[in-house]
């Protein structure tokens, strides 16, 4: 799949004819009305954006439409983008995949039961044989041990079963048989609150599933149901494990009896849990926020339950009165963050713009062993001028409903758990686009624009009327793009009016002023987006974070794809790791080069300067910051000795052995006697093994370092060279330090 940031702008050209500026008096009067509009939203009827739409919306569509969508790529089933497209995708996924799963599960159980019965049968035959022998040779009962005789009769015989083993096998078989006969044909259980069922599920859907109408609180109901089902399932899986161990002859009573006595569902492996019949809850976001506490309880239980939260809160949702973004400036509750606060939950927040992504995400979530939340923004809107697909693209691009995937089990690296790469240009606050315009003198030019939440909002006919179109004759420097307006500091905002680009039905561009209410809602959206970028590490440019993020950037491969395309997948991961390693190596090499440059220049300065030893000391300040002792690259260093008797500089080159410039401790040899850490705690501290190291040599004087070295019974403190050459008695100190370096 093509990453979204590579989106190609369609070759659209729009007309932008600008009239001559109006007279100064006219402009003054007009701008008074604009400022009034900015504060209050009140304006004359002839300047509304009625009949227009967002100009930028046309730029964000991808070349190839994703619909009609064929989930398995074979065009047997195709899904169009309608109001309930997400439900039909889900229905298809559950029917196609769960069917296979159930079938496999049942055949597995049946096979195991047969195997176990075979074992039991062999045992029964042996019993029968003993009694048979007794009948025949009963007269010699005192002479013959019949049970021993059975063993030496050459017969095809599996092995002996002790009484405990036979009992265990019997109970295992009975659990497995009842599990097999008790399992229904329904592929999954779907619970929908009664009061919103008709709204959420229309048409003939989920006929192969067990559709339950939730009575009071569906989250509590689901909790109870999943608890019961998973305990029964764990019992079944326990029996299956015992059965398999028995068949392979690996069951050891001293280990396994105790283990299986305390067997709960938490011990189930991922592949075992994958066979658990999924339980799905379908609710809408209003219902969810009314029952938030029970929802949270369900997530915290860590049970493998799937919750589908349908969000139809588009801007033009019929219930305008409670719309979050009206003048009250409320903050929208972010379900994604609430869910992520539970940390163990797989989260998928998507709009309907990319069905493949949604489908793969659903598949991944259902196979996942943790609680799973799908927050889906539905498509289609009768009020929308643009098509439903375009609206789904715009809802994501405008950062109104960012696409988020958070998979806590994907990797142990923090930033690899996030996937924000489904959003256009995830590293930017708003997607940056280029607007091609034809001006009145037929010249073509390009304008840099940003697609903001206001542009998305302007796609709705009812909303665009709230804007005030500015006639080109009234253009002024105070009119600035909304995206720029949002980044301005408060003191620069005075007098400025933000605008967005609209286009009318004659392909003519207009600038429309945006009221303050819109600005506030844009700010709220961009704040949330910025928060997402932070927690996903998108603002952090360090190589470590970058390489962690690469995991999130991997093309969408579901678990099953990973299994089938394992070599390809591994190859890709290896390539990425190699790439990241190479980058880190390059950075290291560069910093090494810089460091050695610094050392060389320090040495060169030394050769030229007059104050030999002091400049050698000072060069330590420009050296590399390393925890390891850094020895000078050259084996020997030439040092000029200062001759102060007559002011002539007399060069006397002398070879001195190399010493570490920085103070250091051979922590391995430290006796932990507390001497250095008690007396010079500002310099020394202990590591986890309670052995000393230098936390900050600059916090103390060189004299303290030398004293510490002298007192150390293990002789493992090396004071190095002083960082401050102006300390008193330096010559004497250097002499004392000599034997410890």
């Amino acid at each position: 799949m093509k990453p979204k940031e590579d989106i190609t702008t369609p070759e659209l050209s729009m007309d932008w004819f600008v009239d001559d500026p109006a007279s100064e008096t006219e402009r003054k009067a007009f701008w008074r009305t604009v400022r009034h509009f900015y504060r209050t939203g009140e304006k004359a009827n002839d300047v509304t954006g009625k009949g227009m739409t967002s100009a930028l919306a046309k730029l964000i569509t991808r070349e190839k439409l994703a619909y009609p969508f064929s989930p398995d790529g074979d065009h047997k089933t195709t899904i169009d983008l309608t109001t309930d497209a997400h439900m039909r995708l889900l229905n298809h996924l559950l029917s196609a995949h769960q069917k296979q799963n159930r079938k496999r599960f049942k055949s597995q159980l049946a096979e195991l039961i047969n195997g176990l019965k075979e074992l039991l049968k062999v045992d029964e035959v042996d019993e029968a044989k003993v009694s048979g022998l007794k009948e025949t040779f009963g007269f010699a009962e005192e002479l013959i041990a019949f049970d021993k005789l059975v063993e030496v009769i050459p017969e095809k015989k599996h092995k002996d079963l002790t009484k405990e083993q036979a009992d265990r096998l019997q109970s295992v078989v009975s659990v497995l048989v009842s599990g097999l006969s008790g399992s229904t044909d329904q592929l999954a259980t779907v619970i929908v609150p009664k009061e919103i069922k008709s709204k959420l599920i229309t048409g003939e859907l989920f006929d192969e599933l067990l559709l339950v109408e939730g009575e009071r609180d569906v989250f509590d109901q689901a909790y109870g149901l999943v608890c019961d089902e998973i305990h029964a399932f764990a019992e079944l899986m326990k029996s299956e494990r015992i059965g398999n161990l028995e068949i392979s002859g690996d069951y050891q009573e001293d280990i396994h009896d105790e283990y299986f006595e305390h067997f709960t569902w938490h011990r189930l492996l991922e592949e075992e849990l994958a066979l658990f019949r999924p339980v799905l809850l379908i609710v809408d976001h209003n219902y969810l926020f009314k029952h938030l506490s029970s929802f949270s309880r369900l997530l915290a239980s860590n049970l493998p339950v799937n919750v589908i939260v349908v969000n139809d809160g588009h801007i033009s949702a019929p219930n305008q009165l409670v719309s979050w973004e009206d003048a009250s400036h409320q903050f929208r509750q972010e379900l994604a963050l609430i869910v992520m606060a539970h940390r163990n939950v797989y989260l998928l927040q998507v709009a309907m713009n990319d069905p493949q992504y949604l489908y793969n995400g659903l598949k991944e979530g259902i196979q996942s062993v943790c609680p799973t939340i799908y927050h889906i923004m539905t498509a289609d809107n009768p009020d929308l001028n643009a098509g439903a697909h375009l609206q789904s693209e715009a809802v994501v691009a405008g950062r109104y409903f960012p696409a988020i995937k958070y998979d806590p089990n994907k990797t142990d690296k923090q930033f690899g758990k996030f996937d924000l790469f489904q959003n256009i240009q995830p590293q930017n606050l708003w997607p940056k686009l280029k607007l091609k315009v034809k001006t009145s003198d037929q010249a073509e030019s390009e304008i840099d624009v940003a697609f903001t939440y206001a542009d998305y909002k302007a796609m709705f006919g009812a909303k665009v009327e709230e804007l005030m179109v500015i006639p080109s004759a009234q253009y002024s420097e105070d009119l600035i793009a909304l995206a720029d307006y949002l980044t301005l500091k408060e003191k620069h905002l005075y007098g400025k009016i933000p605008f967005i680009w609209l286009i009318d039905d004659r392909n003519q561009l207009h600038r429309a002023a945006v009221p303050n209410v819109w600005v506030v809602s844009c700010q709220e959206r961009v704040d949330f987006w910025s928060h997402l970028q932070n927690i996903a590490g998108l603002h952090d440019t360090s190589e470590k974070v970058k390489s962690e993020r690469m995991v999130g950037k991997l093309p969408l491969l579901t678990t099953s794809d990973q299994n089938t395309n394992q070599p390809a997948y591994e190859k890709m991961v290896a390539q990425l790791e190699k790439k990241s390693e190479a980058r880190i190596a390059k950075i290291k090499e560069e910093s090494m080069f810089k460091a050695s440059q610094r050392v060389v220049s320090a040495l060169l300065r030394l050769g030229q300067s007059s104050d030999g030893i002091e400049s050698l000391i000072r060069s330590g300040e420009t050296g590399i910051n390393s925890s390891e002792p850094e020895t000078v690259l050259e084996q020997k260093v030439s040092v000029q000795e200062r001759q102060t008797s007559d002011k002539e500089e007399k060069v006397n080159e002398e070879e001195v052995p190399v010493t570490s410039k920085e103070a250091w401790v051979e922590s391995e040899d430290c006796t932990s006697c507390n001497d250095c850490v008690d007396k010079y705690g500002h310099i020394f501290t202990y590591n986890d093994e309670k052995q000393a190291f230098i936390k900050d040599a600059s916090k103390g004087s060189y004299e303290e370092l030398v004293k510490a070295a002298e007192n150390c019974p293990a002789g493992c403190i090396h004071p190095g060279l002083p960082s401050n050459p102006n300390e008193a008695n330096m010559e004497a100190l250097l002499k004392r330090a000599e034997k410890f370096n």
């Binding site: 932990s672 507390n674 019974p713 293990a714």
Partner: protein, 319 residues
């Protein structure tokens, strides 16, 4: 068919359950630079490595600087009477052979007031580790001559220098019947110290370890040359002895071969104390009788059964 991961039945506890902090109690109040800190750290490390449950571990001490040791361990401990570390520890081990018992004693506590108990503890040979913190001075009471102070030590009790030769705790122990483990180490060689304490812990019987310990306050002059002179130490090396890695061995200049199963040779080597500081395992014999084993034979018998046994015994004499 489901495939099982090979470790799906692995119900063992995590490998590292206790950390160093789990054995550390309050901050040790010995003077800065005291060898006691080193020994404390080494013992805590051993506990961590062996994952000794703190509730199954007991440190018993007498009186003296060293005997503050149990306060610094987050295990059970008994800071007892002067010279009585051995009998208290023996009592604990006798009735609770399941506990890991360590005896912490000093040169005064062991070789002076507790000498009688020392002798019998060696003879009892119960499965414990005895660490003798020998700094050759009474430090807690501010410098009096101890039984191990070198001849001529100037102290408050002998202002002109001590006049009697010191006890050699190694030689003394080797002269006792049923002795099973005698080793010596120094506190300023942490690797050797740790290896010795470990060897002592692994020994079945009473492991007696004399640790030559620095006292930076009262005996600084006496120890300084030994600590800083690389020739002052002689290592007793043998495959049955204290195992040190190559790097550890390299830090010593004088190494002699000594077989720790030969007690006669061990007594000869113990005399080296007069010329150098020998460190390593002098003697080890795990076949000696252990009094704790004898004591354990009637553990777990109910009071009723005891009464019945006594009654049976008494009935023999009934007229």
């Amino acid at each position: 068919m489901i495939t099982f991961k090979p470790d799906f039945c692995d119900v063992e506890l995590p490998k590292s359950q206790y950390s160093l902090d789990d054995y550390s109690s309050s901050k040790a109040r010995w003077c800065s630079g005291c060898g006691g800190h080193t020994i404390l750290n080494s013992v805590q490390k051993l506990c961590k490595e062996e994952q000794l449950p703190p509730e199954k571990t007991v440190f018993v001490s007498g009186i003296g600087c060293s005997s503050r040791f149990p306060h610094y361990m987050k295990t059970y401990g008994f800071h007892g009477l002067h010279g009585r570390a051995f009998p208290v520890a023996s009592g604990v081990k006798f009735r609770r052979p399941d506990l890991n018992v360590f005896v912490i004693t000093g040169d005064g506590d062991c070789c002076s007031i507790g000498a009688g108990h020392w002798v019998h503890a060696i003879r009892y040979n119960m499965n414990m580790v005895a660490l003798l913190f020998d700094n050759s001075i009474y430090g807690l009471t501010k410098k009096q001559t101890s039984p191990t102070s070198p001849l001529g030590t100037v102290s408050n009790t002998h202002p002109t220098g001590s006049i009697l030769p010191p006890i050699n705790p190694i030689q003394a122990t080797l002269g006792l019947p049923n002795v099973s483990f005698v080793a010596q180490t120094v506190d300023w060689k942490p690797a050797h110290l740790h290896a010795t304490i470990r060897k002592a812990y692994e020994h079945k019987g009473l492991a007696f370890v004399r640790i030559v310990q620095r006292c930076p306050i009262w005996m600084k002059d006496s120890y300084e040359p030994t600590v800083h002179d690389p020739n002052a130490i002689t290592v007793l090396n043998h495959q049955k002895g204290i195992a040190l890695n190559e790097k550890g061995m390299k830090s010593f200049r004088h190494v002699i071969e000594h077989d720790p199963s030969d007690i006669v040779k061990a007594r000869e080597v113990a005399e080296l104390v007069k010329e150098t500081t020998p460190i390593g395992l002098f003697y080890q014999n795990e076949n000696n009788s252990r009094y704790d084993e004898y004591g354990a034979h009637n553990l777990g018998i109910s009071p009723e059964a005891r009464i019945t046994a006594i009654d049976t015994m008494m009935n023999r004499y009934a007229v």
